[in-house]
């Protein structure tokens, strides 16, 4: 390349980079706009022109949401159900993935097919039957009732199986020679090798269950049992038509997952590419 064309290519590259950054900023702008609006006094929120930064910065809407509504209770419900769903999903999937990957037992193929089949079934079609089942078991309006139907995550098992499949056979054979039990092999050899995967899968399962809407929305009718994602859309009286209050509640609802993502960015993206079966 001659210096002139190289310079032109650099310039064009710089322009494209700038354009990309501008697009990204516009893309995320509604999120910024929501946050900024929640920090403005109510009369400033409804001014008929654009103000990118509040004249008076205020946290009164957050204070209102935290003290005058049941958002605290919803937080507790969300944390309990999301952590419960994550732990149960990851642990049962890890065990099942290990058994299917490393152990030979009658029914193994059938089980594997069942998992692959559940991958295709849209759980949304099962809402009626889940509701009836939970009602019959007396679990509506309980944490268990919110958690149970959310435990269908075949992806997690599939990822675990793939990871356990990749562990070299020598490790296992050496351990068996030493008379190590199966559980010891799982806990001492296979799991420590896969901590990274376990963390990644746990974070995305947590995000998915924190964000779940349809099922928690059906399983709960009592205000004090709602998760935060359902609560902020279902309860109007405590917020009224105050836009800033509603936005501050929304910010509070999105905060934990946004933080989880910003802290564990690499793990989150890893888990998502893994779950789609792509080696990044």
């Amino acid at each position: 390349m001659s210096p002139a064309t190289a310079k032109r290519a650099n310039l064009a590259g710089g322009a494209i980079t700038l354009l990309t950054v501008i697009c990204a900023v516009i893309w995320a702008f509604p999120i910024y706009w929501g946050i900024v609006s929640s920090l403005k006094p109510e009369d400033e929120v409804v001014r008929p022109y654009i103000e990118l930064w509040p004249d008076t910065l205020t946290f009164e809407h957050y204070w209102f949401a935290l003290t005058q509504t049941q958002i605290g209770t919803w937080y507790v419900n969300s944390i309990a159900t999301a952590v419960g769903t994550t732990l149960l999903t990851v642990v049962t999937s890890m065990f099942a993935g290990y058994a299917i990957s490393q152990l030979r037992f009658p029914g193994r193929t059938v089980l594997w097919w069942l998992i692959l089949a559940s991958f295709m079934v849209p759980t949304q079609v099962l809402i009626i039957n889940h509701f009836v089942l939970m009602a019959n078991m007396g679990l509506l309006n309980t944490w268990a009732g919110i958690i149970l139907p959310q435990l269908i995550h075949p992806v997690i098992i599939i990822v675990y199986k793939q990871f356990f499949d990749q562990v070299p056979k020598d490790f296992r054979e050496a351990a068996v020679m030493d008379n190590a039990g199966e559980l010891a092999i799982l806990f001492r050899i296979y799991m420590p090798m896969n901590w990274g995967v376990t963390t990644a899968l746990s974070i995305v399962t947590f995000i998915w269950s924190w964000n779940a809407f349809l099922w928690p929305f059906l399983a709960v009718t009592k205000t004090e049992m709602m998760t935060i994602t359902v609560g902020i859309t279902q309860v109007w009286d405590s917020f009224g038509v105050y836009y800033a209050r509603q936005l501050s509640a929304a910010v509070l609802a999105g905060l934990p997952v946004a933080l989880a993502y910003l802290l564990f960015q690499r793990r989150v993206t890893q888990a998502i590419t893994l779950s789609a079966g792509i080696k990044g």
């Binding site: 990204a24 654009i50 099942a96 037992f105 193994r108 039957n129 009836v132 435990l151 199966e182 349809l214």
Partner: protein, 293 residues
């Protein structure tokens, strides 16, 4: 090496027991129950009379069912391919960047995917607010009339599709980026030596090598968007839900608002069959294209 077959099987059963119990209870049993219920004239909870295929034969003449099917199809049309193209465009621009700038731009595009639907709903309800929404300033600037977007039937599905692409696109971007990283750099270097233009590189290298990822993105999106409910439900509040029905919304309406479990189950079975058919068809297509290569 001799395997202790019986002990191994025993350990395996202990390990899979919790999983099997959960799946039996919340996957296998409800699936069977759904089919059984769809042949009954039953309320949501409680026994019903066996009516054969009546719940199914009533569907074709049902106006709300037609609305639900058409809206679902329309929504899928507006989200799947356009969403894929947007994601591909974003992924291509991100892949050019490097270091801190790349992770920053990636984070900006990806952040919406992390948010709960109710937060996405609040943000866009505010952004597109008829009186105070910042988008209306943009409307004013271009000279469009302000419209209460989510209250007007013609605008509703396109607007929800737009918000959905904004919300879920980050997921597809990630898959595309992972796919691009898997393409060996030497191919581009060789092409660069031949003075190949950017467009030709994309057309003859990136696009064909990305095809498996594209197919994956399209499948995931297709299946995901067929099951749409949350956004439609939330944006319909205070509007005219009956015009905005989609399949899952209609299941919800029949079961939980009209107390007709049997008729709702029949709609659920129809959606179930649609999703399975698409999955199987797609699996066959992928296998076919694999074999051709």
């Amino acid at each position: 090496m001799i395997r202790n077959v019986r002990r191994e099987a025993l350990v395996a059963y202990v390990l899979i027991a919790p999983f099997v119990a959960v799946y039996g209870l919340i996957f296998v049993y409800p699936t069977i129950d759904m089919f059984v219920l769809s042949f009954q004239d039953a309320p949501l909870i409680g026994p019903g009379e066996w009516v054969g295929v009546e719940n199914y034969t009533r569907l074709p003449g049902d106006r709300r069912f037609d609305t639900a099917v058409w809206n679902t199809a329309y929504f899928v049309l507006l989200t799947v391919v356009p969403g894929m193209l947007v994601a591909l465009g974003i992924a291509l621009s991100i892949s050019r960047l490097s270091g801190r700038l790349q992770s920053l731009v990636m984070a900006l595009f990806f952040l919406p995917y992390i948010l709960p639907v109710s937060v996405v709903y609040r943000i866009w309800d505010w952004t597109l607010n008829f009186q105070f929404g910042i988008a209306m300033h943009v409307f004013d600037m271009i000279g469009l009339d302000r419209v209460p977007i989510f209250k007007i039937t013609t605008w509703f599905i396109p607007a929800v599709a737009f918000v959905t692409i904004w919300w879920t696109c980050g997921f597809s971007v990630l898959l595309f980026l992972a796919g691009m990283r898997a393409i060996p750099g030497e191919i581009y270097e060789a092409a660069a030596l031949d003075n190949t233009s950017r467009w030709r590189m994309f057309r003859h290298i990136t696009w064909p090598l990305l095809w498996p990822v594209t197919a994956l993105v399209l499948t995931i999106q297709l299946i995901l968007q067929l099951k749409i409910f949350d956004q439609v439900y939330l944006f319909s509040q205070g509007g005219r839900p009956n015009d905005n029905l989609v399949m899952v919304y209609y299941i919800f309406q029949r079961a939980f608002m009209n107390d007709q479990g049997g008729r709702a189950a029949a709609i659920a079975v129809v959606l179930f069959v649609m999703v399975i058919a698409i999955s199987v068809l797609n699996f066959q297509l992928m296998r076919f294209s694999d074999r051709r290569e």
